[in-house]
Amino acid sequence: MSDDSSVLRIVWIYPDLLSTYGDQGNALILRRRAEQRGIRTEVVYVYSSDPVPVEGDIYLLGGGEDRPQNLAAERLRSDGGLKRATERGAAVLAVCAGYQIIGESFGDDDDNPLPGVGILDIRSGRGETRAVGEIVAEVAPEVGGGTITGFENHQGRTALGPSARPLSRTLLGIGNDGSTEGAYQGNVLGTYLHGPALPRNPALADLLLSIRVGQLDPLPASWGERLHEERIAAVM
């Protein structure tokens, strides 16, 4: 990782364990939307055999199957880098299995609670049924409002503790529990929108960027905005 502080450092945590379906899309979109505004970026891939650097700006965690998820949680806890980075003010976007493991606890295959990284006040367990399909939710006004669209594919159910706030209210799909979707706490964001959550939601990508670089110039609407509208229209 470069030590040039004018570079925005996007850190993808454990692409070997937490990358099931298009998770790379979030890093690609952040990089593109930053560079379109003249912000230089660096995408750092941190594999599970490597230490997690603490000087990153935006940390991304993707989805994973049960065993890789447990392994990733264990390694992140013993490494400690991600927690220290958030204490320094880094932004985090964690999706699906990644969302669960940054919480206080999550369920293993038999729904026994395993300890999470503890940077988001949520507790997750296994639901009766698998939530698979399009999801649409209304984002809380304190984090910019608007609507998010995505695809969910998980069996988790998530309860928020007092320090975390729901990211959005579910209009279609299950999310946390059928009524809320995702959570945030300080600069840490989690969601059940799996894989490429940011490509379909350019405003959410800009929200993450603005945490680290401040006010952003608007970009002309392009394919991302069009996809956002099209997906909502297709399912609502």
Binding site: Y21, G22, G25, L28, E65, P68, L71, V132, E134, W223
Partner: protein, 418 residues
């Protein structure tokens, strides 16, 4: 086959009747509906129809239809065979294929990954061919680690001889469950699903290519006796002989498929010198790799259903002057989730003209924009070709890469070309 019990004979005859009805009613090629009727009448039918035959099951995420066709072609050296060449790869399709050829002693059945353990148990095959496992239609398919585990467990209980790809860690781990195996170094272009040891979850050491091993539990790539030299277009047999392939099908994936077919044929006593000329004759498989001519332009159809398939398709594209049309749908057979588009690196298309079409062309458009690849949007192949012809009259060839239902729609528009 005349000793088939009466009930099974009846079921088989009923199945055949239903298949002809289905064809007559133009509902499809009849392979699924016939088997479904037969299964209702006699649940043990698949096992009964398999008895006394020497069967090969072929399973993988990608390339199973093509490899089944290659093996079928090689086995015809020994006479008539039973095979599900229309790609109906679940038990109902297998029943239809076997019932259609009651006298055939040999057979080769393409088998859906999820159904492999069940079909393996029902048919007691002589050979099981395993090629690759990678992420595919995650909204409805099983997790591939779980699939590999089930493959391995069912092979541990079986007498079947395995012909498998040593270079794909998940496949090799499954195949190592079998008592007898022939290992083929069939390559693995897509590696994103095999960073971790299938046995213990450790981070695999993956060099020098194609070697792999787990530093934590010691699981390692089995020694392969067959391999392919892609640069020289050569297959190397277990006795070290280098045979020029010169196939009618394009690309490295098909060289590997051919090596696997030749290795499978050897288990039937067919020498590579006999099988290879038969493999060369195949130029398209159920529309895959076939060309249709529209507006004076030769349009070649490539099917790609998942990230690994798209990578293989990029590798067989013509030179950069040949435009490519990408078509993506998200119907149930395609998977309703298009997230996988973000696993594919499209920047390799940057030096050619690109068109996007299909129900999810907006997803493709954003994906290409993000990789900095210029593109145009189209509605159908004929329209795109007309536009290319008007703007670049010198163009005589166009490649199309499409996922499942998008591919079938294009194929149907040109008379279900084979």
């Amino acid at each position: 086959m005349s000793e088939l019990p009466l009930r099974a004979q009846l079921a088989s005859a009923l199945g055949k009747g239903a298949a002809s009805l289905s064809r007559a009613a133009r509902r499809g090629d009849g392979s699924v509906i016939g088997g479904r009727v037969a299964l209702k009448v006699e649940p043990g039918l698949l096992g009964k129809l398999s008895r006394g035959r020497r069967l090969t099951l072929v399973s993988a995420t990608n390339g199973k239809t093509t490899t089944t066709r290659l093996i079928a072609s090689a086995l015809r050296e020994l006479g008539d065979i039973a095979t599900n060449e229309h790609g109906a790869n679940m038990p109902t399709g297998h029943i239809t294929a076997l019932a259609a050829k009651p006298e055939a002693r040999n057979g080769v059945l393409e088998t859906d990954e999820k159904y492999l353990p069940q079909v393996l148990e029902a048919t007691s095959p002589a050979v099981v061919v395993l090629m690759n496992l990678s992420r595919d239609q995650m909204d409805r398919a099983s997790e591939i680690n779980l699939l590999a585990k089930k493959w391995r467990e069912s092979l541990q209980k079986s007498e079947a001889h395995v012909v498998a790809n040593a270079d794909d860690p998940l496949v090799a781990w499954a195949g190592l469950g079998a008592r007898h195996a022939t290992w083929v170094s069939a390559g693995q272009r897509w590696k994103e699903d095999s960073w971790c040891c299938p046995d213990c979850g450790g981070h695999l050491k993956r060099e020098p290519e194609p070697h792999w091993e787990c530093p934590e539990c010691g699981l390692a790539r089995p020694e392969a006796t067959w391999s392919v030299d892609n640069d020289a277009d050569v297959v190397i047999t277990p006795d070290g002989q280098r045979m020029k392939l010169d196939l009618g099908l394009p690309g490295g994936a098909n060289r590997a498929n051919a090596a696997i077919a030749m290795a499978t044929a050897v288990t039937y006593g067919i020498h590579p010198k006999q099988s290879l000329p038969r493999l060369r004759e195949i130029r398209s498989v159920a529309g895959r790799y076939t060309s249709v001519v529209t507006n004076g332009v030769e349009v070649r159809l490539l099917l790609a259903k998942n990230p690994a398939g798209w990578l293989e398709s990029f590798a067989v594209l013509g030179p950069p002057r040949i435009p490519v049309i990408l078509a993506v749908n998200a119907q149930i057979p395609d998977g309703k989730d298009t997230s996988w588009l973000w696993d594919v690196d499209y920047s390799v298309l940057g030096d050619r003209r690109v068109f996007v079409m299909g129900e999810r062309r907006t997803d493709l458009a954003l994906r290409l924009e993000t990789d900095g690849v210029a593109f145009d949007v189209g509605d159908d192949v004929a329209g795109v070709v007309t536009r290319i012809k008007a703007e670049q009259p010198e163009i005589t060839k166009v490649d199309v890469i499409a996922n499942y239902t998008a591919f079938q729609q294009i194929r149907a528009a040109y008379g279900r070309v084979q």
